[in-house]
C-alpha cells in the first residue's frame, strides 16, 4: 500500500489478504535442527550400507591372524578385531544387515498394521474390537520373547530376527493408524464429502490416507530406531545374525572379551548403534514438526 495510490474499497475486498503458502518442505527441513541432523546421520548410515555392497576398505570377512587386535594403524582406521579383520569394514557391512533388517521389520509392521487400523477405524463396532484386542495380545509379547521362541524353532538368522520384530510392531502401527484415522473421519470435511456422495472407500483413499500419512511416517521413523536397537540386541544375544557375518550386535558381544586388550572393539560398535538410534529419533522428532503444524492452520 504506497502512500500515493489508494486501493478503492472494492479492491480491498478479497485478493490482497491471501496468505503465502509458507516455506517449502526442503526449506523447513533444513531449518529444523532435529530433522537436519537426524537426516544427515540417517543418510550417512544408508550411504555406508549401499557403498559396502560394492566396496569396503578391507574384506569384512578377511581373516589375517598376524594383524589381530591392533589398534588404529596403517590403513585400519579403527583397528582390527581378534581375527585381524578390519573393524571399519565390519561396521559398514553391519550397517547393511541392520538397515535391511530394520526396514523390513518396519515394513512388515506397516503393511499389516496400517490396513488393520484403517479397517478398525472405518468399520468400528465388533470388527474394531476384534482387531484391537488381537493387537493388544500381540503387544503383550515383546519382540525378544517372540524371537527366542522363533529361534528355538527355526534357528538363529537375520530373517528370524526381522520377522519377529516386524510382528511385534504390528500393534503399534494399528493403534496409531486407527487413532489418527478416527480423528480424520470425525472431521467436518469428511462429513461434507458424504453430503456430495463420496463413498466410504473413496473417502479413505482421498481424505483419510493423505491426512494420516504424516503421522504414520513419523511413527515409522521412530519404529526404525527401535528396530535397530532390538535387532542389535538380538544379534548380541546370538538370536539373530549368525557369525561370521558382521553385525553390530554380534561385534558388541565378542568385543566384551577383549576390553582389557582393545577397548575400541567394544566402543566402536556401541557408538555406532548409539548414533544410529539417535539419528532416527532426531529424524522422527524433526519430521513431526516439519510435516504437521503447517497444515493445521
Amino acid at each position: 500500500m504506497s502512500a500515493t495510490t489508494l486501493p478503492s474499497p472494492a479492491e480491498a475486498t478479497e485478493p490482497a489478504v491471501r496468505r503465502p503458502a509458507g516455506a517449502s518442505l526442503p526449506r523447513r527441513w533444513v531449518r529444523n535442527p532435529s530433522a537436519l541432523i537426524g537426516g544427515i546421520i540417517v543418510a550417512v548410515i544408508l550411504a555406508a550400507a549401499l557403498v559396502s555392497l560394492v566396496w569396503t576398505p578391507y574384506d569384512p570377512l578377511g581373516i589375517a591372524p598376524s594383524l589381530a587386535l591392533k589398534g588404529p594403524s596403517g590403513g585400519h582406521v579403527l583397528g582390527t578385531d581378534e581375527y585381524g579383520r578390519d573393524v571399519l569394514s565390519r561396521l559398514m557391512a553391519g550397517s547393511r544387515i541392520t538397515t535391511y533388517a530394520s526396514v523390513a521389520a518396519v515394513l512388515i509392521g506397516l503393511v499389516v498394521g496400517v490396513p488393520a487400523g484403517l479397517v478398525a477405524a472405518v468399520r468400528g463396532g465388533v470388527i474394531s474390537e476384534i482387531i484391537m484386542r488381537t493387537a493388544d495380545i500381540l503387544f503383550a509379547f515383546p519382540a525378544l520373547l517372540a524371537a527366542i521362541a522363533m529361534t528355538a524353532a527355526l534357528g538363529a538368522s537375520t530373517t528370524v530376527a526381522m520377522v519377529s520384530i516386524g510382528i511385534a510392531f504390528i500393534p503399534q502401527f494399528a493403534r496409531v493408524t486407527r487413532s489418527a484415522a478416527l480423528g480424520v473421519i470425525g472431521s467436518e470435511f469428511v462429513l461434507a464429502a458424504r453430503t456430495y456422495g463420496r463413498r466410504r472407500l473413496a473417502i479413505v483413499r482421498r481424505h483419510v490416507l493423505p491426512n494420516i500419512a504424516a503421522v504414520i511416517l513419523v511413527q515409522a521413523t521412530l519404529m526404525l530406531s527401535l528396530a535397530i536397537l532390538t535387532e542389535s540386541a538380538l544379534d548380541y544375544l546370538g538370536l539373530g545374525t549368525a557369525p561370521p557375518t558382521a553385525s553390530w550386535g554380534q561385534m558388541l558381544s565378542t568385543g566384551q572379551n577383549y576390553i582389557s586388550v582393545d577397548l575400541g572393539l567394544e566402543i566402536w560398535p556401541a557408538l555406532t548403534v548409539f548414533v544410529a538410534v539417535l539419528g532416527f529419533n532426531l529424524l522422527s522428532d524433526g519430521l513431526r514438526e516439519v510435516l504437521d503444524p503447517r497444515l493445521r492452520r
Binding site: 502512500a3 474499497p9 480491498a12
Partner: protein, 332 residues
C-alpha cells in the same frame, strides 16, 4: 480516582507491533467496553493487563494497578495480583476450568492462595460465592465437576472465581459469546449486579455492540492495535465519528431485531481485517475506508473532539452521519 490506568501500551512480536500506544483509564465502579473485530488487539490488551503475555512479546508503556506499574513487577508480584486485585473471565467456559477438579475446589483455590484461608473456610467461601452467582443449591454444586455443568453454569463458576477475592478490576473477554442467547442475557444481568455490589471496575471486551451498549457507560473502539475512538457509549453509538465505528454500528443495526426488513443487502465494511503486521502504514483502517485520502498515510493523532477521543483525518460530521457514511453497501 482511577483503579486501572494504561498508558502508551505497545506490544510487539519481534519487529511487528500488534498493539500501539494504547492509553485508557478505569475508575472505581466504572464499566468500559472494548470493541473491534478479531485482530484489533483487544484481547492482547486484556492479557497485557493481566501480565499473561508470552515472553516472546515485548511490552512497553505503563499499566498501573492500584498505583504500581505491573510491567515493572516480578512474576511473583504479578501472581499476587492475579485473581486478587484483577479477576478475568474468558470466552470459552469449556476450557477455563480444570476438568479434574470439583468446581468448589477451584474457587477455593483462589482464596487459599491470596487470603491464606484454611481448607474448610475456603470451601465455605466457595459455597457462598456459588450462591452469589445464583446457583440454587450451592453446597451440592460445589461438589460437582465441570463436565457435569452446562456452558452457562461453567461461565458462572468462572465468574465466581474472578470475584472471589473482591478484585478492584474485572476483565471479561467475550464472556457471553459462546453462550446461548437466553443464558447470555442472564449472565449479563448477573455480571451487572455483581460488579455493582462489589464496586469493581469492569473492562468488557466484545465484538457485539449491543452487549457493550447494554453493559458499559464508556466504549473504546480499537482497530489495528490502536484506539480509534473512545467516549461515552451513548455518544459513540448514537453519533459515531470514526468510519470504523460507524461501519460496525451500521452493520449491527442492519442485522438486528429492529432493522428494516425490506433491506435486502446488508451494509458492511469492505475487505477484512489484515493479519498481524499487515496493516498499512499510517491509519490502519485506510485500506477499508471509503473516506480515505492521501493524508491518511500519516497516522492521525488521538485527539479530543466532539466530546470524545478520535483518531481520524476525515471524521463523520453531524450532517453526514444521517447518510450512514463510511460503509459500502455495494455487492461483493
Amino acid at each position: 480516582m482511577s483503579v486501572l490506568s494504561v498508558t502508551d501500551l505497545t506490544i510487539s512480536i519481534g519487529e511487528t507491533p500488534v498493539v500501539s500506544d494504547v492509553s485508557f483509564e478505569l475508575d472505581r465502579g466504572e464499566r468500559v467496553g472494548l470493541i473491534g473485530e478479531s485482530g484489533s488487539g483487544k484481547s492482547m490488551t486484556a492479557f497485557a493487563v493481566m501480565g499473561l503475555l508470552p515472553d516472546t512479546m515485548t511490552v512497553s508503556g505503563q499499566i498501573r494497578l492500584d498505583g504500581s506499574n505491573t510491567l515493572e513487577m516480578t512474576e511473583k508480584q504479578r501472581c499476587e495480583l492475579r485473581g486478587n486485585r484483577v479477576g478475568m473471565v474468558f470466552q470459552e467456559p469449556m476450557t477455563a476450568l480444570n476438568p479434574t477438579m470439583r468446581v468448589g475446589a477451584q474457587i477455593a483455590e483462589v482464596v487459599r492462595i491470596h487470603r491464606g484461608l484454611r481448607r474448610r473456610a475456603a470451601w465455605q467461601h466457595a459455597v457462598d460465592l456459588l450462591a452469589r452467582v445464583e446457583f440454587p443449591d450451592p453446597a451440592a454444586q460445589a461438589r460437582r465437576y465441570p463436565h457435569q455443568l452446562s456452558g452457562g453454569q461453567r461461565q458462572r463458576v468462572a465468574l465466581a472465581i474472578a470475584i472471589a477475592c473482591d478484585p478492584a478490576v474485572i476483565l471479561a473477554d467475550e464472556p457471553t459469546t459462546a453462550l446461548d442467547v437466553t443464558v447470555q442475557a442472564q449472565m449479563l444481568d448477573l455480571m451487572s449486579r455483581l460488579v455493582d455490589e462489589q464496586g469493581a471496575a469492569l473492562l468488557l471486551i466484545s465484538h457485539d455492540l449491543a452487549v457493550v451498549d447494554r453493559m458499559c457507560s464508556r466504549v473504546v473502539t480499537m482497530y489495528g492495535g490502536r484506539i480509534v475512538e473512545s467516549g461515552e457509549t451513548r455518544k459513540i453509538f448514537g453519533e459515531p465519528r470514526h468510519p470504523y465505528t460507524a461501519g460496525l454500528r451500521s452493520t449491527s443495526a442492519a442485522v438486528s431485531l429492529d432493522s428494516d426488513r425490506t433491506l435486502s443487502e446488508l451494509p458492511f465494511i469492505p475487505g477484512q481485517v489484515p493479519g498481524a503486521g499487515r496493516f498499512p502504514p499510517g491509519c490502519p483502517f485506510r485500506t477499508r475506508c471509503t473516506r480515505a485520502s492521501e493524508e491518511c498515510a500519516t497516522m492521525p493523532p488521538l485527539a479530543a473532539a466532539d466530546e470524545r477521543l478520535l483518531a481520524c483525518w476525515h471524521p463523520i460530521t453531524p450532517t453526514a452521519s444521517l447518510a450512514a457514511a463510511g460503509t459500502d453497501g455495494s455487492s461483493t
